[in-house]
């Protein structure tokens, strides 16, 4: 068994007395495709928001690669290696496609360039700028977006916007990639394409991926392991097929 990348311990959050999520224990191993499944309002996105520092968990902790990141700020968590996409795509709409990815590259140590070096246009500026552009182009090529690199992000078709958001998240060089309903709003062709893309990322970037999804077919075809949530608590966990066939899960979904 490979090493554990993400581990949560009794993770939970309360909003004004209401338990939105409680006692979530998840272990995700390197290169795993892990699914977070459940009906609307089950607390899936809330878990993402805790893992990325948008919300501070009220109970429990979580560890990335053994390091406790509970309650850290969003930027810190991103620097430590968790990147995400959003349920309703959040691109930098009025920036070009390549600039979107370059913002993702912003914090990497090899592209450091101080304000002063930038303003005075010292050699380092030109060097980092060139290197960033090169790297961003490579990423865009992988996602089939190279042609559109100088278009505004908002002018991309929907499926490509999703891809761009993933490319931007990957540009931050994460250890763990969180995808929030990546297939939402996609047509069947785009979804099929997305499945390939996600597998490709896992294999070529050695990436560990945690994703939220409604679509059971999508999950069954993609994820190695899943956690099923309902009303903020874990219904079932483990190997995708077993978890989906768990009586509690079947009951929650079909209501009978």
């Amino acid at each position: 068994m490979s090493e554990i990348i993400l581990k949560t311990e009794n993770l939970g959050i309360t909003f004004g007395g209401l338990k939105a999520v409680s006692d979530v224990n998840i272990e995700i191993r390197k290169k795993q495709l892990y699914g977070l499944v459940g009906p609307n309002g089950a607390g899936k996105t809330t878990i993402f928001n805790m893992l990325t520092g948008v919300y501070r968990p009220t109970t429990g902790r979580f560890f990335l690669d053994g390091e406790d990141l509970t309650g850290k700020g969003q930027e810190v968590i991103n620097h430590k290696g968790i990147a995400r996409t959003f349920q309703n795509i959040r691109l930098f709409n009025n920036m070009t496609v390549i600039h979107n990815v370059m913002v993702g590259l912003h914090n990497q140590s090899e592209y450091k360039c101080s304000f002063l070096e930038t303003i005075l246009r010292l050699p380092r500026y030109f060097k980092t700028e060139k290197a960033m552009r090169q790297k961003a182009k490579e990423l865009l090529r992988i996602f089939g977006l190279e042609e559109e690199r100088n278009n505004l992000a908002c002018n991309l078709p929907y499926g490509k916007q999703r891809k761009l958001e993933i490319a931007r998240a990957l540009a931050t060089n994460p250890k763990l990639l969180l995808l929030d309903e990546p297939a939402a709003g996609m047509n069947p062709n785009e979804t099929a394409d997305l499945v390939e893309t996600i597998k490709f990322i896992r294999d070529n970037f050695d990436m560990t991926i945690l994703l939220i999804e409604h679509d059971m077919k999508f999950v069954a075809g993609l994820c190695d392991e899943i956690t099923v949530l309902n009303f903020g608590t874990v219904l079932a966990q483990g190997d995708t097929k077993t978890a989906l066939n768990d009586p509690a899960v079947v009951k929650a979904y079909i209501g009978g």
Binding site: V103, T172, N245
Partner: protein, 377 residues
């Protein structure tokens, strides 16, 4: 030589234009061809450009609203003016006094920017607007009620007279400096981080951008230049009066930024020049109650331009009727070069539709699950 060919002249055209203007007017000034009113107008234009370009960084690129730009200018004008009063007996009226005053005025304004920005920029929403507005009023009331011997109180502070034939050249050199700082910063990784905050703050956070740091830096740099513009103002007018730096002046600078097009530095430069020119020429034409026409004009610019450029209902109309499309048509008639956005839009948009599809999915999985369950039992 190969490298030279790669230089994007588009990026440097504003420097070149301003440099040419400076050289031409500088030469005219040395040949004594410039009337003093033109010299004064040139100084005012330089000040306006610095103000507009620095505010444009906050409003157009960072997406925050500052209504206290005149307040920072006021700080610079009073403190820079005071320093020049103190230095004049020691260093005389030369460049040294000028430079030191500008440094002091600018840096103190920048410090005020940090003090104001810290509480306001941590918060989401329109807080910066209201806090900067409050700041402008605080500054004015403090200088207004200052002692006669410190800052001249309600009479204002008299500052030394400078050689008028040189001052505007110096002012335009500062314009170039301001332009270099703002433009170089915007066209860099830092600039991309700044615009990413404007476009989607939540995503910027998630992408690891230190949002507070960038907001504060941009606001501080913009305050610095507002302060520098203030010092120039004190040199240009020989007298600094707090009543001149009121809320209306901040709005006038905002009008320049909006008129020039938010997120366009060259636009801000053109609009600043235009409005300052109109201001001065109209002053003699629109007297008495007619002076209000100018305010009315500003108000209409703000409302009409912003509604036109931002109303969601007009977005389709804007896509086909804007300047860049117009210029593109002028430049290349080849239809292959035109961007064809509509064709690429094949999204399945609504969430509700998707949920319907999903519920079907669950049914279909359940049918495959059911037999297993029966077998289990």
């Amino acid at each position: 030589m190969a490298k030279l060919g790669k230089i994007k002249w588009k990026h440097y055209i504003n420097y070149i234009a301003i440099a040419i203007v400076t050289i031409v007017f500088g030469a005219m000034s040395f040949a004594n061809l410039l009337p003093s009113s033109t010299v004064y107008l040139l100084e005012k234009i330089a000040i306006s450009i610095i103000l507009a370009v620095s505010l444009s960084m906050v409003v157009g690129f960072l997406g925050e609203l500052s209504l206290g730009h005149a307040g920072f200018m006021c700080v610079g004008a009073y403190l820079g003016g005071k320093v020049s009063c103190l230095l004049e007996p020691v260093f005389g009226n030369g460049l040294i006094t000028l430079i030191i005053s500008i440094l002091v005025g600018g840096l103190i304004a920048a410090a005020c920017g940090i003090i104001i920005g810290l509480p306001a920029l941590r918060l989401k929403g329109d807080y910066l607007a209201i806090v900067t507005l409050a700041f402008g009023e605080i500054v004015r009331s403090i200088f207004m009620n200052s002692g006669e011997e410190s800052f001249g109180g309600s009479l204002g502070l008299s500052t030394p007279r400078y050689d008028k034939s040189v001052l505007f050249i110096f002012a335009f050199v500062l314009v170039l400096g301001c332009l270099a700082v703002v433009q170089n910063l915007i066209r860099s990784k830092h600039g991309r981080a700044i615009t990413s905050i404007r476009d989607n703050e939540i995503a910027a956070h998630a992408t690891g951008i230190n949002v507070t740091k960038y907001k504060l830096s941009v606001f501080t740099i913009s305050s610095l230049f507002a302060g520098i513009a203030g010092v120039l103002y004190s040199f240009s007018n020989f007298r600094v009066q707090s009543t001149n730096f009121d809320y209306n002046y901040s709005i006038e600078i905002l009008v320049m930024v909006v008129l020039g097009g938010m997120g366009s530095i060259n636009g801000s430069i053109v609009a600043a020049t235009l409005i300052t020119y109109l201001d001065t020429t109209l002053q003699t034409v629109l007297t008495g109650n007619l002076a209000v026409l100018q305010d009315l004009f500003y108000a209409l610019i703000l409302i009409i331009l912003v509604v036109y450029n931002n109303a969601p209902a007009l977005s389709a109309f804007r896509a086909t009727h804007n300047l860049s499309v117009f210029f593109e048509k002028l430049r290349k008639h080849d239809p292959a070069h035109r961007r064809d956005d509509e064709a690429k839009w094949d999204r399945v948009p609504t969430k509700i539709e998707m949920n319907e599809i999903l519920s079907v999915d669950i049914q279909s999985t359940s049918s495959t699950v059911d037999p297993d369950k029966k077998e289990g039992k």
